[in-house]
Amino acid sequence: MSPLAFAGALLAPLAAGAGALLLLGIRPRDGRVAFAGHAWIAGTLALGALTFAVALFGGGFGALPWLGGGAALLAFAVGWRRARKAVPEPARSAARAGSDGALWLVLALVLALAGDDVLRGSRPLVTVGDEGSIYANRAMALYHAGGYGPEFAELARRDDFVAHPDYPPLNPLLMTWTFACAGEVLHLENRLFIQTFVFALLALMAVALRRVSGGWTAALVLFVFAGARALRGSSRVGPADVMTACGLAAALDAWLQLRASGERRHAALLGIALAFLAWTKQEGLLLAGGIGAAALWKRRHLAVLLLPPALAAAAHAAVNARFGFRGDLLAEADGATWFERLTANAGHHCAVVLRQAADLALFNPGETNLLLACAALLFVLAPRTVFRVAAVPAVVLLAGSAAFLGAYLVTPHPIEWHVQTSLVRLVLQVLPAAALVVAAVVGRCLLRAGAPPSQAASASSADRGAAA
């Protein structure tokens, strides 16, 4: 793939996402780092949806780059025009505290280090592992078949080629987008495209952390978060776990903005992030449901924000139903239903999972850099403070962990193998929530920073200051 074509493949979602945010009334001046992160989420979701539509209605992917590029340019032009017509808001004071300077410096550092991780991951081609069998091979099948037709079904049903064809489709759809931009199947650039989510994740975490704590605390937690081996390992390959973590960070950041402003545009931003999350992995769907429910609990009039994730989940379920793709967790295995497995194995599986989780959180401190252990400590010793200063991240962390545990309890696979091969990735997916809980409590109890009503404003002004 030529560098120019790859640049086009990256710029199209960015332009589409920026246009979508401008149309919603979200401006770069509200915070450029946050704007870039959310634009990447919205744009990749839009390009994924377009690729999905092309795959669904047939016709092949030959015209997809032109269709996607044209739609992105149109969205950006319309959004830009609307933003220029809008009455300019009075400039808020964007005083740059030294602590915010430290945060942006740390962000620049961790982005550069993530770039090095991405580079090292680019030595071999995408062939095996989850990135190959679950995502890239499915994208190859889709691209080769020209859409969701019988040939795709035949290729996706090959056990020796595609694993878990029932998984949510965003990752393979985006890989298909890169294939369409190159005009051929790729084995490297498709991974690079997915790896860009680690940059969006770090940017979104920086602003979200700043919304719940002071600049120094946010800088420290961001550095520790970015250095966690669970994240670094996943950022060198191209499965959907970093995408899920990124979607969670986007959703939590959107929720923090919505809580501070109560504005519809931030509700729409949350809806987009939840739809993205629902299309990344089943775990993402669970987390999206958890955040949506928690958000509705606080603001019931915003039920409409659940529409985008519900549509995304329904579209994915329809494709699975059409081809008969089913997940293995709730399927009958060895003559036992999931409920029979649950009742028979609950005690043993629970013990194995908790032992491995404790081992991961406490005795392998580099994996999560103790963020999970610190969050657990705060939950046990200061639960009221946790729920007072970081209610939604706390609920997401608890509900997500409980849902993951539930999945392990009914698994048809040998539990030791299943936990060993997946727990680190599951932990990565909820690590943004753990980092936010830790930063919020430390910021509130120790440094007296990040009071809830002013969180969004303080982060936005700091973000604007950094970009100025």
């Binding site: 280090l113 090095d116 580079l119 090292r120 680019s122 030595r123 071999p124 081609l125 995408v126 062939t127 095996v128 190959g132 069998s133 890239a136 091979n137 190859m140 080769h144 290729l155 090959r158 020796d160 080629f161 199947v185 084995h187 490297l188 605390t217 420290l220 937690v221 550095f223 520790v224 250095g227 401190p365 580099g366 850099n369 103790l370 963020l371 252990a373 610190c374 400590l377 705060l378 010793l381 200061a382 403070t385 830790v438 409590v441 430390v442 509130r444 109890c445 120790l446």
Partner: protein, 162 residues
């Protein structure tokens, strides 16, 4: 009182994070220093063949041979005589080649009986058969024509010359 306890707890968490930050900084420094600019530049400049070689490890010859001889619509059978050790390496190579040679269908076998059954299919489909190492003759190789060899891998065409 509770406020002081909470402050102490938050301080404990902050100290733990500071320790991890120092450890992370040290680890990342070693990580950065372990790879020179020259090696980084080599990763950036590496072409498809070099990356395929990195992915395939010791199975480069089979990839090169198949890439040169595989025609459109042809399938591949990989055969490695040599027991369980060979089976593991063969399984890894097979999964990698399935991705790299897509849309060709790549299958593999280790046992002579399995090979004989697979060759019947392969002969009908006109597939390429790659033998990774092993003795010079294939069991039941009637109808197989050796077409190329390199690095311990021999390539046959099943079903006669095309």
């Amino acid at each position: 009182m509770r406020s002081n306890l909470q402050r102490a707890l938050a301080l404990l968490v902050l100290l733990a994070l500071a320790w991890r930050a120092v450890e992370t900084a040290r680890e990342r420094w070693h990580w950065l220093a372990a790879l020179g600019f020259g090696e980084r530049a080599a990763i950036v400049r590496a072409d498809f063949g070099a990356r395929a070689a990195a992915a395939l490890g010791g199975q480069v010859a089979v990839f090169d041979l198949l890439r040169d001889h595989l025609g459109p619509g042809e399938d591949v059978v990989l055969f490695a005589p040599g027991g369980a050790g060979a089976a593991l390496a063969l399984d890894v190579a097979t999964r990698q080649l399935r991705a790299l040679l897509f849309p060709a269908r790549v299958r593999s076998c280790v046992g002579p009986a399995e090979l004989a059954a697979m060759l019947q299919d392969a002969a009908a489909a006109g597939a390429l058969v790659a033998r990774l190492g092993g003795p010079p003759a294939l069991p039941g190789e009637a109808g197989l024509q050796p077409i190329a060899a390199s690095g311990g891998t021999t390539l046959f065409r099943a079903g006669g010359a095309r």
